[in-house]
């Protein structure tokens, strides 16, 4: 919960969090080591110095640390757990649904548990998805189209197999499909982070929502075009938001563009925890205004109403969360005890 200087309460749903194990004991090979080190480089490059962790803490943090970073020190009311399997790099997976489920179990009022699938897993994958949906009733899935699997270095949502999985997921009650489309990495020149395939599936699956994580950066232009055309395409701010510290002018420009092209109802906050932590991200976001020259050009303004939508109301709508009822549940579980005395205002 974030409280403005006037005492107004802002309900925060963190659209993108991880409970991972990237520790050396779980690394299957050099790629697992390089993967967590690359995440760590993002963390140490874009975090304010006071928020930097050691590589050791970053590689594997415990459930209490995560809970407190999100909900006690940070302003999150709820967090969506997004799995990332990376079975070719990590012995027990990097961040699996099972691992996340244990986290949710200890704080059911706090977490939204998402599942995942990989269309290259065929019939076995479909069965696993079915089983997962029966067991956890997730409303969302996280897809990582650039994940390695054997000889394959990625897939596209337009693949025939992807359609099968999306149809099945819809049947099992999935509403929201989060797709990692971020900075260019592997594979080769078959660019699995290209956003073009979203356009196609968003048209074919009108009842599903597609949340493009990281707004497709560095392909912001392609993403904005697609999201403008398709009513069911959203943008997730994970990785975009931390630029608010290192490059505030640039962040202002991106926000102005996003608001101009896709509007305030289709942008979702996400910390990408444990890469970044909610406390500093939201402090800076609440204090942020789009620079005047950007506003002059695009007409975009980050009003308090818009901030509320981005921080929680948009995700609440997608995930069917009744904010007032949820607050009561959190209150009843003692989740707001730490707020009793303090009033949080932007720095």
């Amino acid at each position: 919960m974030y409280r403005t200087a006037n005492g107004e309460e802002i309900f925060v749903i963190d659209g993108h969090t991880h409970f991972w194990d990237g520790s050396p004991a779980n690394q299957k090979n050099i790629h697992g080591k390089q993967f967590i080190e690359c995440f760590y480089a993002y963390h140490s490059n874009l975090s304010p110095p006071s928020e930097k962790w050691t590589l050791e803490k970053f590689s594997k943090y415990d459930a209490k640390t995560m809970h407190d970073d999100l909900f006690v020190h940070g302003y999150d009311d709820m967090a969506i757990l997004q799995p990332t399997y990376l079975g070719d790099f990590y012995k027990h997976g990097f961040n699996t649904t099972e691992r996340n489920a244990a986290m949710k179990k200890s704080h059911p009022e706090r977490f939204i548990l998402n599942s995942a699938f990989d269309p290259r897993d065929g019939t076995k994958g479909l069965e696993a998805l079915h089983e997962n949906c029966e067991k956890y009733h997730p409303k969302g899935v996280k897809l990582y189209t650039a994940e390695w699997k054997g000889d394959s270095k990625g897939y596209k949502l337009t693949d025939k197999e992807s359609y099968k999985f999306l149809e099945a997921a819809q049947k099992y009650g999935i509403k929201n499909v989060h797709v990692h489309k971020g900075p260019t990495i592997l594979p080769l020149n078959r660019d699995a982070f290209d956003v073009a395939d979203i356009d196609d599936v968003a048209t074919s699956f009108q009842d599903l929502n597609f949340i493009v994580e990281h707004c497709g950066l560095p392909r912001l232009d392609d993403f904005c075009w697609i999201a403008t055309q398709e009513t069911n395409v959203y943008g997730g701010l994970a990785v975009v938001l931390p630029f608010i510290h290192t490059r505030p002018g640039y962040f202002g420009h991106v926000m102005a563009e996003l608001l101009f092209w896709i509007g305030p109802d289709k942008i979702l906050y996400g910390s990408d925890y444990g890469i970044w932590t909610p406390k500093w991200l939201i402090d800076k976001f609440m204090a942020f205004e789009i620079p005047e020259e950007e506003t002059k050009e695009t007409g975009s303004v980050l009003t308090l109403e818009t901030k509320k939508k981005i921080l929680g109301l948009n995700a609440a709508r997608l995930y069917g969360i009744d904010v007032e009822a949820q607050k009561k549940k959190i209150e009843a579980a003692g989740g707001y005890a730490h707020l009793a005395e303090s009033v949080h205002a932007p720095e």
């Binding site: 490059n45 990495i185 592997l186 020149n189 392909r219 912001l220 630029f243 640039y250």
Partner: protein, 260 residues
């Protein structure tokens, strides 16, 4: 005391660095030297050039890595005294594969086989066009800001652009733009100075919208640039060439595909 050979070598080394300054990272449109990617460029007694480079992450796209290596080789190999050019990429997940391909003079397709499904020339052109657009948007925005009117700009010839009275910042943007102008179409003194990516003339009425749209290309490039510089800095001790932050030589952890 320096011998004649040492002096010649120092000259040649400087010549190699100057050539390398013309090679850009395709996505960032900045020289690989300025980005601190190149960690070594030496000339040995047999006039062979040895270049080593590194990238901001272990995962940087293999096609871009290969393209930069290829461009570096092409930039250097035509110097009249060069006997041979060796290029080595450090600490990258495809380092072994790329280095073996480079050493044998293979192209990207031959090096990666079935995993590579489009050719590098097309990729190179895509990014030269993006660089053209980015440089054009910067120059146009500058000229519009300095009070030039749209009608005058769309009619202007390259010859007139070259002659234009302009401040230092503008002159730099102009130099960068003119360097990429031939990517799109013939660049004679009588050609239009400003054309779109298809080589077609621009319209005065829509010029400001056109520049605005191009600025999105710029946002993408800026995102990459800020990120890549930061990641390189986070990954390497930039004071000590080819060392990681914990002091280990990067080539000790080179990986082969068999580790998978």
């Amino acid at each position: 005391m320096s011998s004649m050979r040492d002096l010649i070598n120092a000259d040649r080394k400087a010549e190699v660095w100057r050539r390398l300054e013309t090679v850009t990272d395709p996505e960032l449109d900045e020289p690989v030297t300025q980005l601190e990617f190149v960690t070594r460029a030496d000339v040995d007694a047999e006039n062979r050039v040895h270049i080593e480079f590194r990238l901001p992450t272990y995962w940087c796209a293999a096609n871009f890595s290969f393209l930069m290596a290829d461009d570096m080789r092409n930039a250097v190999k035509d110097l009249p005294w060069v006997a041979d050019v060796s290029i080595v990429l450090g600490e990258h997940m495809y380092a072994d594969k790329i280095n073996a391909g480079l050493a044998r003079g293979l192209n990207f397709q031959e090096t990666f086989g079935a995993e590579a499904d489009s050719d590098l020339d097309e990729l190179r052109r895509t990014f030269l066009l993006k660089a053209f657009q980015r440089r054009q948007a910067a120059l146009l925005a500058h000229l519009i800001g300095a009070g030039r009117n749209a009608a005058g700009l769309v009619e202007m010839t390259l010859g007139e652009l070259v002659e234009l009275e302009i401040d230092d910042a503008g002159a730099r943007l102009r130099r960068r733009y003119i360097e990429r102008r031939p990517t799109v179409s013939d660049s004679l003194a009588t050609s239009r100075a400003f054309v779109d990516a298809d080589g077609d003339p621009l319209q005065a009425e829509t010029l400001s919208t056109y520049v605005r749209t191009l600025r999105r290309v710029d946002v993408n490039a800026e995102f990459n640039s800020a990120l890549c510089r930061g990641l390189l800095h986070a990954r390497f001790d930039t004071e000590t060439p080819l060392s990681t932050k914990n002091g280990r030589r990067s080539d000790e952890s080179r990986v082969s595909a068999q580790d998978m």
